[in-house]
């Protein structure tokens, strides 16, 4: 028992270490001073007002949202189709295919960034949004594939068979039976896809240019050159948003399990 206490004692410090940077950002965001100073000078919601009502973060925020949503709209069906093919069809290439589709997780994003930059400039692709979109889809696909393969593996195959035998074509079966049964995995994939895409910085650094800023880029440059309290406010909003979205996904998954 005594040793367990030592483990727990150490762990309290590690948990503090884990949460500290998030907490200091949130605490700083209520500071009355315009620039980050410690200890805080007073308590105010002003910076949240400023961030929401006007300002430098609005356009990048919507850009990032648009990017994350469109990325998810592409990566989720494409990744689900890949996972379905690998899970439900026998092929001697399945292992190779699976490693192939997961490989963007292994190759540093940095390298993909340079490679894509070289490619798009060789091809003369000027529009920033499609450039970023394509890269984001590549980065997100492995998350979807991995989650969906796990989801399909946990599903009882005979339910899909029952559907086919009752007269539903394979395609109908997929939409009427497989998709509803895979809902928890789909929710998890969608959540991961949105978050990973929304937070992606490196691709944007390499592939975007004037006129199209993402939120992580703007925050990144402000962290370097402009440590203001409103920066802490927008960062806190992102933290809250991510946590809320996560809770929502978990909640929806739980509801599905019961029925």
């Amino acid at each position: 028992m005594k040793n367990f206490k030592i483990v727990n004692f150490v762990n309290v410090f590690i948990y503090i270490f884990i949460l500290a940077p998030l907490l200091v950002v949130i605490i700083s965001s209520f500071n009355t001073a315009e620039y980050l100073v410690f200890p805080p000078q007073g308590f105010t919601f002003d910076w949240y007002h400023e961030v929401i009502s006007k300002g430098r973060y609005t356009q990048p925020f919507w850009n990032s949202i648009k990017l994350a949503v469109v990325t998810t709209m592409i990566a989720l069906p494409v990744g689900t189709m890949i996972a379905y093919a690998i899970s439900r069809y026998k092929s001697r290439f399945n292992d190779v295919l699976q490693s192939f589709f997961l490989s963007p997780l292994v190759i540093p994003t940095l390298l993909l960034g340079i490679g894509l930059l070289i490619l798009v400039s060789n091809l003369g692709v000027q529009m920033y949004f499609p450039r970023l979109l394509l890269a984001h889809v590549v980065i997100v696909i492995p998350y979807v594939v991995r989650t969906m393969i796990a989801g399909f593996a946990g599903m009882d195959k005979s339910i899909e068979q029952a559907s086919i035998i009752l007269g539903a074509s394979p395609i109908k079966t997929f939409f009427l039976v497989t998709v509803p049964l895979a809902r928890p995995a789909l929710l998890a994939s969608g959540f991961l896809s949105l978050v990973v895409s929304f937070d992606e910085l490196i691709i944007a650094l390499f592939l975007t240019g004037p006129g199209f800023n993402t939120l992580p880029m703007t925050i990144y440059s402000d962290v370097q050159f402009n440590l203001s309290t409103s920066l802490a406010a927008i960062s806190s909003l992102i933290i809250f948003g991510t946590v809320l979205l996560g809770l929502l996904a978990v909640l929806l998954m739980g509801v599905n399990k019961k029925s």
Binding site: D156, S158, I159, Q161, A162, S163, I164, I165, L166, G167, A168, S169, P170, K172, T173, L176, V177, P180, L181, K258, S259
Partner: protein
């Protein structure tokens, strides 16, 4: 009339042969039980009929149609699964309506047909529930309704009762027989439980190692198992190895010696002049109480009581016979008085010569 015909069905998974040149004919309106040990290829055979698997070679005819060329969702075949396989996200009503909707049945008709079908499995009040809110037996009856509402010509059952407890198993088995009368389908019923096969099957096909070893009515299969495997699989049996065969005692019977030197008479069989095993069903054996010996009609064997089990409807006596490794089993039904044997007591049993089978 022949409803379903399997011709030379052969199925390999990789290099492993799972169904080996299987031939089978199922008559219209009958219930045929496929009975066999785990892994002998029963489910694979059903899957091929339903279209979930494709035979490596061979053909499957339903009436005059070659089924292997028909897509699985267009075959007029129903399948009831061991684990029910209900759609967990749909209500009982929608589960049953699922197939009707896929077949383009008009909306106005669907409600009536679903309710009629649910009524036939005594689940009329349950249409709004979800599968998770039903017991195992109820779920399986929803699965039955879901299949039968489409009025398929052929219904396949893959061990539909084996997840249920013993009482329910029998009740639902009988219900399936009644439903067959009502819906007039042809059935193929897979099971590894011989009692279930006896209860449900018009005929039983005993499978082993990817092939059918015997096909016949429950009585035929029970009374005249073609080999020791079938004998052992269906019911209880005493299999005694033969030491040597003495031919020509009389024209009709021959005398053989089993291990331990015991002599036994059997009906002579021209097809099997050199048998290696004797088989006697435990329930065709009686305990010798008086001293009347009729060796023209009966075989006798003496040993010592190893154990007596009372099961409520019968006694099972295990007898240690000299020279024979396994206990010799005797099942005695409908005893009016209690058996009085103590362990190790000497006991003599007898059975009719014509009940002695040789292999």
């Amino acid at each position: 009339m022949t409803e379903l015909q399997l011709k030379d069905i052969y199925k390999k998974f990789g290099s492993k042969v799972v169904v080996n040149k299987l031939n089978l004919t199922v008559e219209s309106g009958e219930m045929l039980c496929l009975l066999g040990p785990s892994g002998c290829g029963k489910s694979t055979t059903l899957s091929m009929i339903a279209g979930m698997q494709t035979p490596t070679s061979g053909s499957i005819m339903l009436e005059d149609k070659e089924l292997t060329k028909v897509a699985p969702h267009k075959r007029d075949v129903g399948l009831v699964f061991q684990n029910y396989a209900l759609f967990p996200h749909l209500s009982v009503f929608d589960n049953v309506a699922f197939g009707l909707r896929r077949h383009g049945v008009p909306k106005s008709e669907i409600g009536d047909r679903v309710r009629a079908s649910l009524a036939s499995v005594q689940l009329a009040e349950f249409e709004d529930r979800f599968p998770a809110q039903l017991s195992g037996g109820q779920q399986q009856r929803v699965a039955l309704a879901r299949t039968l509402v489409l009025k398929p010509k052929l219904v396949l059952f893959d061990e539909p009762l084996s997840n249920l407890d013993a009482k329910l198993r029998q009740a639902l088995g009988i219900e399936i027989r009644l439903l067959q009368k009502e819906y007039k389908f042809t059935g193929v019923f897979v099971t590894h439980d011989q009692e279930e096969a006896m209860l449900l099957g018009d005929r039983i096909a005993v499978m082993n190692g990817g092939n059918i070893v015997q096909l016949g009515t429950p009585k035929e299969v029970y009374k005249k198992p073609v080999d020791p495997f079938v004998a052992n699989f269906i019911g209880e049996s005493n299999l005694l190895p033969i030491a040597n065969t003495d031919l020509g005692t009389s024209s009709e019977t021959m005398e053989i010696t089993i291990l331990g030197g015991h002599k036994i008479k059997v009906i002579a069989n021209d097809n099997n002049s050199n048998p290696s095993k004797v088989m006697i069903r435990p329930e065709s054996i009686e305990v010798l109480v008086d001293k009347d010996i009729d060796s023209e009609k009966y075989n006798y064997l003496t040993g010592n009581v190893a154990y007596i089990n009372y099961t409520g409807t019968s006694y099972l006596i295990g007898i240690k016979v000299e020279g024979i490794e396994k206990e010799f089993l005797v099942r005695i039904q409908n005893m009016t008085e209690d058996l009085h044997f103590s362990d190790e007591e000497a006991i003599t049993v007898k059975w009719k010569i014509k009940d002695t089978l040789i292999y």
